[in-house]
Symmetry: C2
Subunit: 337 residues, 2 copies
DNA sequence: CTGTTAGCGCATTCAG
DNA sequence: CTGAATGCGCTAACAG
């Protein structure tokens, strides 16, 4: 009754459904006048071709999935912004999935996405130390997959990362140059590909500068703010580092809070540099030195790779794109006077 | 060939497609043993029921759309987080649409969503001073709509907002109590429902305190940082306000940058308070006094209203939920000593 | 340029 | 408890 479909529209116009359908597809095989007649009535009756029907018929969804650990996070929201930009240009829709860093959720999302709901997936992964076989099923279904930022090294697919090793190395050297001799490394998950690369840069920079590294100074944190503050407070009290390298933004912020509460002066008592996509790092007290990944660009790069694969009929590709992070030195790591 | 469907699965099991289908639906009308046989083979063959086919058949999509002006924004990303939480619990999928505050895009998204792609829409609107008739078409299609934060007053639908008027009033009074006599109001779009409410709170608080308001102190800004800095710099130089009330986070941050560049001391020379969802407002230099909306709660509230409508068979509802913002006084607005 | 026909994959009557 | 048959709304041959 209230629901309009192609049949009714056709009857109304004394046309066949195929002609009506043609009016909506790019198909040039149609008289211009009738096409306009169709579109005009369609517009009037507020008709839009049913998405499920055409997708069922065409075996494609014009939709991609974006799977990320979290969204209330500057890096990811900026990256999604970039992905959106590319997808929208191609007329694609975007489904968002948040894993909360829960590997189970990731698996369940992926498994559900085998249903033809999407033509491709962009993902920043969650559970490193696991079996990633479930991802190979996607290949069989010709659903291309592109990793960005956090990747699984053992899966052969397109990846967009940043030059984490080099940035870590440089950031660590920067601290050393500015006088640090005992630099702690704050990490959330050492087994993540990213955690590993960043840590390696840190360690190599230490030994290149004859500082060596101590297990004690690798501080394992979590995703919980209060817990992190506690861990960091203890680490600072116990080991008295003169420099802190935070591998993740939230750990630098937790450190700021701890230092402020404990009256530890930044950068006089302790210098800090951190991976961070915070746009207002310069407004913090003191301004925070950052290694900033090009989040938006990484998003667009990942999306572009995905569409390349989609247009290649779902053939998975394995391009590897590495984007350069920028190190911005601010007061938190400046040389004490 | 490689694509598995219900028919092949049925043949493989020597069953009819209907039986296989029943195994996947809640339907109790099936032998437990056969059900397990089906599910087990399905799992092995990596079969997932085709989403478009079942949605076409069932006339529902298990998907909702979230339309917001932007995503790289603390308020919206936290709100989306809340929406996601509720939707995921219900087994729903989430499509994201970013309008970039462009009314044309908003209209085009909405029109496209008539295609049965979604069962409902949560939206924070973009173009106030326009004709909103296109939204009424959704009702005819029984696609419920819930506004949150930014709403159209002339559309009769469910809305989740925060107590903007009261918070603005209190925030303004707070500045007055702390000694401000000449308070500028920074706004992005005066015609937005929100812009209006917040401004009204500001104006009423001024007059209640016998300060009256001057057109000159209502500073119209944009979404472009550099432009805003210019506007704010000029306003400060010309009118020398001793207080600034930013109706939107980004304007407060622009003000910080201007003050820092121009050597204007906060809070000594000028006090600032702002609507903001920045979690680290306390770490800024100086720490920023904020009016913080319960973004996550607003998201969950909106999603809950939407599902209420969806479960009522798409009957639009018009519940009005008002969430309370929290005013957090920090150093940026503190009384000078 | 247009109409006829068939079928995408699944869920649901209706029989049995 | 299971199977056969029908159609959700649309598109793409294939004729004409």
């Amino acid at each position: 009754m209230d629901s309009i479909n192609i049949k009714k529209l056709a009857k109304e116009l004394n046309l066949s459904t195929s002609t009506v359908s043609r009016a909506f597809r790019g198909s040039s095989d149609i008289n211009k006048a009738t096409k306009e007649r169709v579109l005009s009535l369609a517009n009037e009756l507020n008709y839009e071709p049913n998405h499920h029907a055409s997708n069922l018929r065409e075996k494609k969804s014009n939709t991609i999935a974006v799977i990320v650990p979290e969204i209330a996070n500057n890096f990811f929201s900026q990256a999604i912004n970039g992905i959106e930009r590319v997808a929208r240009e191609k007329g694609y829709h975007i489904l968002i999935y948040l894993t909360d860093d829960d590997f189970q959720k990731e698996m369940s999302f992926i498994s559900n996405l085998q249903s033809g709901r999407v033509d491709g997936i962009v993902m920043s992964v969650s559970g490193e130390a696991n079996n990633h076989d479930y991802l190979n099923k996607l290949k069989k279904k010709k659903i291309p997959l592109v990793f960005f930022d956090r990747v699984y090294d053992d899966i052969d697919t397109a990846k967009v990362t940043s030059n984490d090793y080099e940035s870590s190395y440089s950031a660590t050297e920067h601290l050393i140059m500015n006088g640090c001799r005992k630099i702690a490394y704050l990490v959330v998950n050492k087994s993540h590909s990213i955690g590993k690369m960043r840590m390696k840069g840190y360690i190599d920079a230490l030994s290149a500068n004859k500082l060596g590294y101590h297990d004690d100074l690798i501080i394992d944190c979590s995703n919980d703010l209060e817990q992190n503050k506690k861990i960091i407070r203890q680490a600072i009290k116990k080991h008295k580092p003169d420099g802190i390298f935070a591998s993740v933004e939230r750990l630098a912020l937790a450190t700021y809070q701890v230092c402020s509460a404990e009256q530890v002066q930044i950068p006089e008592d302790i210098k800090i540099i951190s991976f961070s996509s915070l746009e207002i790092a310069g407004l913090l007290n003191p301004s925070l030195s950052t290694i900033t990944q090009p989040a938006w660009e990484m998003g667009t790069a990942a999306a572009n790779l995905l569409f390349k694969a989609i247009q290649a009929d779902g053939q998975n590709i394995n391009d590897q794109v590495v984007c350069k992070s920028e190190i911005i030195e601010r007061r938190s790591s400046s040389r004490s006077v």
